[in-house]
């Protein structure tokens, strides 16, 4: 068994288990059982309509494996939005779905805190579902029709992805963060470089990265087109789940996954973390990455700290530490949205929220908020935003004539203080 396993990557091993097969090879199409599936307010009702009207199926296959999270527009900001959320409440009641969250945070953060486990296979009707490879799950985003088929049957078809392995080495310099790693990897392979592939991260440079940092990198893999991500779980993952109060200790699975670390893959890319500097993804493409130093001083109107990419307690701490005792620039609209209620409560306890508010920030209830662009902090024509979120597409946060710059939490906060793109060392 172990000899067979050693020829498969961790992603292939997990897919094989869920396909009830000894082994699978990249490129083949297999049917897999799904451990958990997730949808949110942007996708749930369309999925219901497809399942009922076009698939002629009235009930989900197993309500205990269906997670439904309201996060994109919380609280509802219009009559139309409220009708959508009302419909979701009706649907979960009718189906007996208990894993239903109306205001607990961004779906991926809530999934991380409450449900995902290493070795599982999870599909979600949201493109950033690829994030859960950060703890050793195979997870991928799908559309509503694919999700409807999963709701109806508990299964889906997958093309087994090739694995591209990024071997990280070296240590990050001060003020360089996981977000900069993510932007660097995307700029290396470009926006379609990992299409239909899985991004596996490994190497000595990975070991010191915490689970939240790993989550940031895996979250953004879809911006390079990746289907899924994989980090073979190690002690950091065990420690993370212990602190979360949801211990994971399946040593047999850990050992099996560890054995796959040198399995053949389609490409290996070496990355020296020590060479990185703070980066910015410029409008209107995530792979339009430039060193911050090249565009420092560009005037901005809005700064956003939050999202499933960078709205965790570690990100708020990083921002608050820079901001303490200072105020944001005149006319700056600075928005802070913790990724979940748990993060929010922790930030309150650590007095981070008062630091943000004293500095002039607007603190929003947890959710996708400004990152998804239809809710809080909409940009006017000509305005520029620097954000810790994940997309800078044209018009993503309001007017097609506005501009979005993606950066790390500390660059976002330094820029909010100065009113222009700023290196964090300038505000210490």
């Amino acid at each position: 068994m172990s000899i067979k396993n050693s020829r498969m990557t961790a992603t292939e091993l997990i897919i094989a288990r869920h396909a009830n097969r000894d082994r699978v090879t990249p490129g083949e199409i297999v049917n897999v059982s799904v451990d958990l599936c997730m949808s949110n307010d942007a996708t749930t009702l369309l999925t219901e309509k497809i399942m009922k009207e076009r698939m002629k199926t009235n009930m989900v296959w197993d309500p205990s494996r269906v997670v439904i999270i309201v996060d994109h527009q919380v609280p509802a900001d219009s009559i139309d939005t409220s009708i959508v959320q009302q419909g979701m409440g009706r649907f979960v009641d009718e189906q007996g779905i208990e894993k239903y969250h109306t205001s607990d945070g961004v779906c991926h953060q809530v999934m991380l805190e409450k449900y995902v486990t290493p070795g599982s296979l999870i599909m979600g009707a949201d493109s950033h579902t690829c994030s859960y490879g950060s703890i050793g799950a195979v997870s991928s985003g799908v559309g509503s029709t694919d999700l409807a088929a999963i709701w109806a049957s508990g299964e889906t078809w997958l093309k087994v992805p090739e694995t591209v392995r990024f071997i990280l080495d070296g240590h990050l310099k001060p003020f360089v963060s996981a977000k900069d790693i993510a932007l660097h990897l995307i700029s290396l392979v470009r926006a379609n470089g990992l299409t239909y592939k899985t991004m596996e991260l490994s190497g000595p440079g990975l070991t010191p990265l915490t689970v939240p940092e790993r989550f940031t990198i895996c979250n953004m893999a879809v911006e390079a087109g990746a289907k899924s991500t994989m980090i073979i779980p190690d002690n950091a993952v065990i420690e993370f789940f212990k602190q979360l109060g949801r211990p994971f200790d399946n040593q047999a699975l850990m050992a099996e996954l560890k054995e796959t670390e040198n399995a053949p893959c389609s490409a290996e890319i070496n990355v020296d973390l020590g060479a990185l500097e703070p980066l910015i993804a410029c409008p209107h493409y995530v792979d339009n990455v430039r060193p911050l130093s090249e565009i420092e001083g560009l005037k901005i109107d809005q700064a956003f700290l939050g999202s499933c990419t960078n709205g965790r307690i570690e990100d708020l701490r990083e921002g608050a530490q820079l901001l303490k005792g200072k105020t944001v620039a005149p006319h700056m609209r600075f928005l802070v949205t913790p990724a979940s209620v748990n993060v929010y409560k922790q930030a309150l306890e650590e007095n981070l929220i008062s630091i943000f508010m004293d500095a002039g920030a607007v603190v929003n209830h947890p959710g996708c908020s400004t990152c998804w662009g239809a809710h809080q902090g909409i940009l006017a024509p000509g305005q520029r935003m620097v954000t810790s979120g994940n997309r800078n597409f044209k018009g993503r946060a309001g007017s097609p004539e506005s501009e979005i710059y993606l950066a790390s939490p500390s660059v976002v906060v330094a820029s909010a203080i100065k009113g222009a793109l700023t290196h964090p060392k300038e505000v210490i």
Binding site: D126, G143, W157, A191, T195, K394, G395
Partner: protein, 162 residues
């Protein structure tokens, strides 16, 4: 036969249907806003049979299935691009839209008149008089496309298996 609507690289699903319109009650309502940030009149002037042509990474970004659905509502049957983002590619197949990956996307200009022969896998550009062959989708995916989409395929399979 139809007019080509030519777009560039990385047309993401926020371009195809901006997020603020996703709460509109029907796909028909949303479809009026299709491609709005790129082409404000697209939803009002696209004629069934016209063909969308993109370049690199067409359909990247969010998984929102409203993207292929608004295009289908407007009468899009075929999209040609150099390559497609994965989720959008699946969403097209699942809704009976044929995504054709072909290098000819680079040589097609806006408003060129294209003839597409699905049976034989041929694209003919009337303006340049160039003819291109594309590989037809086969196997499981072709069965889904032939049924008109994944839901129809599942229902058909269920009926067949009794």
């Amino acid at each position: 036969m139809g007019n080509a609507w030519k777009f560039g690289d990385n047309i993401d699903t926020d371009q195809i249907i901006p997020s603020q319109y996703l709460v509109l009650p029907t796909i028909k309502d949303m479809s009026k806003h299709a491609m709005e940030p790129q082409h404000p009149d697209f939803g009002k002037t696209f004629t069934p049979g016209d063909i969308i042509v993109g370049e690199v990474n067409f359909g990247c970004g969010s998984s929102r299935e409203q993207a292929p659905l608004v295009l289908k509502e407007l009468g899009v049957q075929v999209i040609i691009a150099l390559d497609f983002a994965r989720i959008f590619f699946r969403n097209c197949i699942n809704n009976g839209i044929l995504p054709i990956e072909h290098p000819c996307a680079k040589e097609i200009s806006d408003k060129d008149i294209l003839e597409i022969d699905l049976q034989n896998g041929v694209i003919f550009n009337q303006n340049t008089q160039k003819k291109y062959h594309f590989n037809k989708i086969e196997g499981y995916l072709a069965e889904i496309l032939d049924a008109g989409g994944l839901p129809e395929y599942i229902v058909k399979r269920k009926e067949k298996n009794g």
